[in-house]
Symmetry: D2
Subunit: 264 residues, 4 copies
């Protein structure tokens, strides 16, 4: 008998997302005709990812998260990658696919890291579902995170922004979350951690950090963090690729001979 | 002096999509804070792609188009590609990117072809903006298209569906378009062409075909056809990749030794 | 009975490339153990693509073609795309995949276009296999191509280079082809066309153009043009991604705020 | 002063791979004309990746490693992904790129893991360059690895094969390595570990495992493991995509309605 062997998968696919029969398509138990007629695109996304429709309040928040991810101009490497690929004459889907491949450890990875950070911290308290955490506990968790990252000299995921001292998207969503009563345990923790980091290091939550906390309060698995970000950002990338493709210039390069230094 | 030479691009990027300044982000002239607070994700997409916000009526239609593209279960090759890549342990963005690469000539290409078909036909009439085409002209255009495709034995883009005699999404959107007064010139042409094809070949508009007509009436360039489809479909692909990644099975393959025939 | 319908593929794969049985792998009829022991990588590639091993002379030429495609420093958009993706912390395979997506209409597309051009021209003569074309015919074909491209003001595929008046790789391979007796009909046509273009437009064959002619003489289908180019270029891209990944810099961008012009 | 901030890269690229000047291309200090005339494709790859040309003996081994990676028929998920994408009508480069995206944690990841395993073990001995390790030390390292993986119930990277009890490529390369005097410290360790695993678990080195050891003896960084594998495998993927594209079938799917199980 061998070990280290590989399972041979049987030849079928199981899925709980959509059921397809001749002349019938249903998603998560709802007939697609009804969904097309009645729900918003952002609720449809929530339904696809969570398996249930959001409450009105949750749907409103999720919509805002998606809007806030939509575009950061031509500055992100992913957007520049997509434009670079498009300028070489590749089709729209290749350019967008290439843009997505730029979401690596240093770009857009912060959402999942921050979701893991907040969810692991809150989970460590073993709360029962309906109990609200008390503020003392939150402060202690934030201090623990602060100390642990400081000791290891690690970057705090979801904090700081290349171009903005105060990320205007993050501030806006934080304001709305407070005004509309959306501050769950994960968001409380994020806000508390921000207070520590503002005072001690002069850095604040960025849009990834705030949304990571809110998505955690909405019950999303950290494994979906990058996926939700991509759903939000693909429209921006499509807009940039389209702009690039109708532009008169061809064959963009970001460095030309004079910008390339040969060092042997 | 040489010909056939290549332009060397200068080192800058021009964009009209978003303006980024320290602590300030605006898209198409609107402050992102305002957009986050007030508009739906689907209106944000419209704004990114068209440069202006939709009217309430246009926004409602555009939202339905996006919802209708969201998912067709595990049947599309793109979704299967994404799940296949995910099952080999690649990250979410690689799996989604791979899925997008499956949108080729035979899959999702119909939207742009249909948009070109309808827009070229309508443009050929050189209508001034505010004149409604008369029904005689529409019928004639449809007959011309029908004959021309038949002679060359070409597939009608946006017609027929692998699994559905009647694509339930297409019927639903057609009903809504009629009820809510959304039948512009391109859609009239599509419906007229469908009548010919229903009678003569027993095939009907599918979701790509109907949406191609409606997007044309909304004023979208055919070059954006695949982009809008991808924006609509990425949520479905993300849901499938997530489902695959939390599933217990590893390393899916669609053919195993017994399914592979070696022919020398 | 419906038309415009789609075939449902049966669930199997036919292949003539390699035969896999437990503890046995053979490629194009040769046991892989023998291939590993006895043949060069470039002969193995020839075998995979053509189904037969090359003659010693053909193998030598094919090897040179592959070497000549290997690297053009950090200047190509594909290489820059791959480095951009790598600098965002994405894995090696994502960066290389992104680089490949840059081979569009304006970059690396010339090989296939040139192969089609030469092969269509030569095929139009309906030569029997063993007859050598006479020089008058070649000259006439070249003149026809020259006039036809000029009239339509089209770029000649495989001619001219952004950085080189004389592409040193192209000159070298042309010299070798002449010295070693490698000038078949397609290459004769390419050389004749070059004479016209040198005199009239001061442009010469680049490496894509020469290799397109030689690959045509070797009997490769134009559909393999980009594939062979990619096989040759992937080593260079891997070297660049590796260099980028061990470099100290993170998160490269080709345009920063000052390089991005917002035009509303 | 802020922390957690991001460096803004200056706008240039440094590279030591190739130097490009008008009408001059040199790679790693060698004029490309000379390389094209005189060296094999596999030596060129070695030069690109290591910065120096191989000795005759090392070059021969490296060539065999590349040949051994070339193709495993239509069985690998990466090859199936590439064929799936091609069958939807996407271009060659998209299909190959999609195939590469399938090299995840569960597929082709073993090479880098095995290189790290062997190199970390050998490095732990702090040998000076010219000292050969003694067999007692090797055996002890192998036992340590064996125990440590067993305790954690981890898969041994580079061991076992889905279809082969004895991977014929691995056996062949091992034979050649022994006959031609190619067993350095890393390979000794791999062989010793195999003896333990053969006796205790009835599993053997596969092609990834043997090549990981040999590449380590050749001095390659583990970060290049997947890159070298891809260079070897891309020719096979190109051959499969070409075969798929000239095949009569369109729009392959690996599961059809009957193979998809909806579980709500």
């Amino acid at each position: 008998m061998k070990e280290n062997n590989f399972k041979i998968n049987e030849h079928y696919l199981k899925t709980a997302i959509s059921d397809i029969k001749p002349n019938m398509i249903s998603t998560r138990g709802y007939n697609q005709e009804e969904l097309i007629e009645h729900i918003s695109f952002s609720d449809m996304i929530y339904l696809l990812l969570k398996g249930i429709l959001p409450s009105k309040k949750d749907g409103k928040l999720f919509n805002r998260i998606l809007v806030s991810f939509c575009d950061h101009g031509a500055t992100p490497p992913s957007t520049q990658t997509a434009r670079l690929i498009s300028s070489s004459g590749s089709p729209m889907n290749s350019a967008v696919a290439g843009g997505l491949l730029s979401f690596g450890r240093n770009h857009a990875g912060a959402i999942e890291k921050a979701m893991n950070l907040y969810q692991n911290a809150i989970n460590s308290l073993n709360l029962t579902d309906d109990v609200d955490i008390d503020n003392q506990q939150i402060v202690q968790l934030a201090i623990n995170i602060f100390n642990s990252y400081n000791e290891k000299n690690k970057k705090f995921p979801g904090f700081g922004h290349r171009y903005h001292d105060i990320d205007p998207r993050a501030s806006k969503i934080m304001d709305i979350a407070i005004t509309e009563g959306f501050v769950g345990n994960h968001t409380k923790l994020a806000f508390t951690l921000e207070n520590l980091l503002k005072d001690n290091k002069n850095i604040r939550l960025n849009i990834d950090g705030v949304n990571a906390a809110l998505l955690s309060d909405l019950g999303f698995n950290p494994k979906l963090g990058l996926g939700i970000f991509m759903i939000g950002r693909v429209p921006g990338i499509v807009a940039h690729v389209y702009e690039e493709s109708i532009d008169e210039e061809e064959f963009r390069k970001f460095c030309d001979l004079d910008d390339i230094i040969f060092k042997d």
